[in-house]
Symmetry: none
Subunit: 187 residues, 4 copies
Amino acid sequence: MNTKEAILKATLRLVNEYGFYHLNMKQLAAEAGISVGTIYLYFNSKEKLINELYKNIIRDFNAIVLKGYEEGRAFKQNFFEMMRNAIDHYIQNPDRFSFIEQYTYSPFLFKETKEENLAILEPIEKIIKEAKKENQVKDLPETLLIALSYGPIVGMMKLFIVGKTDLKKKMQKELLLEACWQSVSIQ
Amino acid sequence: MNTKEAILKATLRLVNEYGFYHLNMKQLAAEAGISVGTIYLYFNSKEKLINELYKNIIRDFNAIVLKGYEEGRAFKQNFFEMMRNAIDHYIQNPDRFSFIEQYTYSPFLFKETKEENLAILEPIEKIIKEAKKENQVKDLPETLLIALSYGPIVGMMKLFIVGKTDLKKKMQKELLLEACWQSVSIQ
Amino acid sequence: MNTKEAILKATLRLVNEYGFYHLNMKQLAAEAGISVGTIYLYFNSKEKLINELYKNIIRDFNAIVLKGYEEGRAFKQNFFEMMRNAIDHYIQNPDRFSFIEQYTYSPFLFKETKEENLAILEPIEKIIKEAKKENQVKDLPETLLIALSYGPIVGMMKLFIVGKTDLKKKMQKELLLEACWQSVSIQ
Amino acid sequence: MNTKEAILKATLRLVNEYGFYHLNMKQLAAEAGISVGTIYLYFNSKEKLINELYKNIIRDFNAIVLKGYEEGRAFKQNFFEMMRNAIDHYIQNPDRFSFIEQYTYSPFLFKETKEENLAILEPIEKIIKEAKKENQVKDLPETLLIALSYGPIVGMMKLFIVGKTDLKKKMQKELLLEACWQSVSIQ
DNA sequence: AATGAATGAGAGTTCATTCAT
DNA sequence: GATGAATGAACTCTCATTCAT
């Protein structure tokens, strides 16, 4: 692993352990196994570092979700594949899920990426729009369909992270997927 | 309004405008119209202040939600009343919603209140449990039923806050409530 | 003496002992008998502090020199009084003389005061111009007359500071004044 | 041009553009078209580099001034030749003039070269002493004669550098020389 | 109860210097 | 000879907290 990746990885770990508020460059350098000055060879500032990490996480997440999408395939199959990818990715990288949530709710930490805050919803928005055009989903506002698809997943992830549920069990995950599907699909 | 309330109100406003990360006591004092020293007459530390504000917000929220609950009344009616109260409270106090979300995802800002982070879900957990005992909800894990009830509301609130939807319209709100209800109730 | 003046005084002393290059805020706070943070209650940045000190020194110098000026009085008398004031002020405050010279030759330390760098010559420029109009000085370019009036004083101050001459002796000072006068006046 | 000279040249340029205070090795390497490490092959430290540059500049300046000196020749002719050489050198290398002035007023940047700070005055001191012995200059203290000879030149150079006068014009230069001569010579 | 000047530890950042390549 | 990534001490500046008034 190269130095830049080591820094990003250490940042992700520390932000999740201590939060944005308590992240400091000295501790970060120690966690990454480098010296403070080295961080600044790769990132111009703490803010830039956080923002770049966020962009990377969103980019990776969206790429993984979109791997579940196939042009022309039935909406149902696309929905399940994409959502399953999302859940799997979150379960395997709960720190990424937490980071996204922290980031989203830290106003003005990320002035420059304000507009990207909703990028996380783009893939789901895309298929909901397509399905809506073809009358394959309930006759509800798009935003509501998105909230019904993605909201319960976020909710379950929160419970998973605090140990209230075990999403790693296949059954739990499939029940979640099926329930989200029922919420938006025409019965 | 007394001084203590003025401080709490100013804190809520500034945290939502600038985030925990950029909140500072001098600015806070200015916002509250008092001097920095005065804050310390009412709160022992910045952390204590934040924690107390959080507890107040959760306490108020739960009290309002529980006003929609009546012992012995049909589950459906309790569900709608409580959830409607929750949504109304959030819509009228979006800063409180944002604060809760920020707080929840700032690990170790609130060491002492870690266990209270899920308190927000207590009222809904309560009626889901009762309904489950009486087989009035789908045969799904409790946690999933909670995620299905509350997750879409959080999702819609996020979209509302960034201006993507207008939850203030009665129709939008009722559609959301109905959809959440459909997710958990036996058809 | 108030805090702000103590900071300015300490700055002047340290800049002259160690130079701009080695001035640091920790040492400065110690010299002024206060803490680092206190400096920032009075000056927004190190640069602002240096600039303000410079402006004060120039302002004071010019005020003192101009005390030797009287409207309508013979050029010769004005010249001697003003120049004597300048020399006396420098002799009694050699640190101010050194500071001005350091400042003048530190490009870009003082972006904002660039245009004030020549303010030090304003009083002398003023009387040279007047004298020129009335043909009381040699027929030479203004700039040369200024250089002839002020240059030897700067030169002697440099020698005084390194201990090569004793300008405090009345004779030395009067010889310097007389020589400058001879340089510019019509014989 | 070899590497060492390239470094010295780059240093001179950057010190004059940004000042000692803002000179840094990375920028210096870029300006010289080499890498930071290479600087340290030729100079042990930043301080040593600055000091060596200073010594070179003084050495060159004195050599050029002394070219105007001829044993046994009339004082007046030596004075004019030497001073003309000095002025010409400064006019053609204003950066060297500025560097000398910056250096002179940066105490303790050059601990080791403190004693050399007046070396710049050696050639003029030399001929003034000779002339004094032979009663060819006014009966004034040596230091004052030096200040009268050299002070106005420094003064005019400062005005030249900020664009207030055009020393490149032959007339200006000759008037300056003549005026300095008048200041020290027996009428 | 209220103030706000003062504190100083600690933050983010810089940069002269080193050394493996 | 030449490189430039890496270092970490030291820098400027911030800000939660204190306390004399």
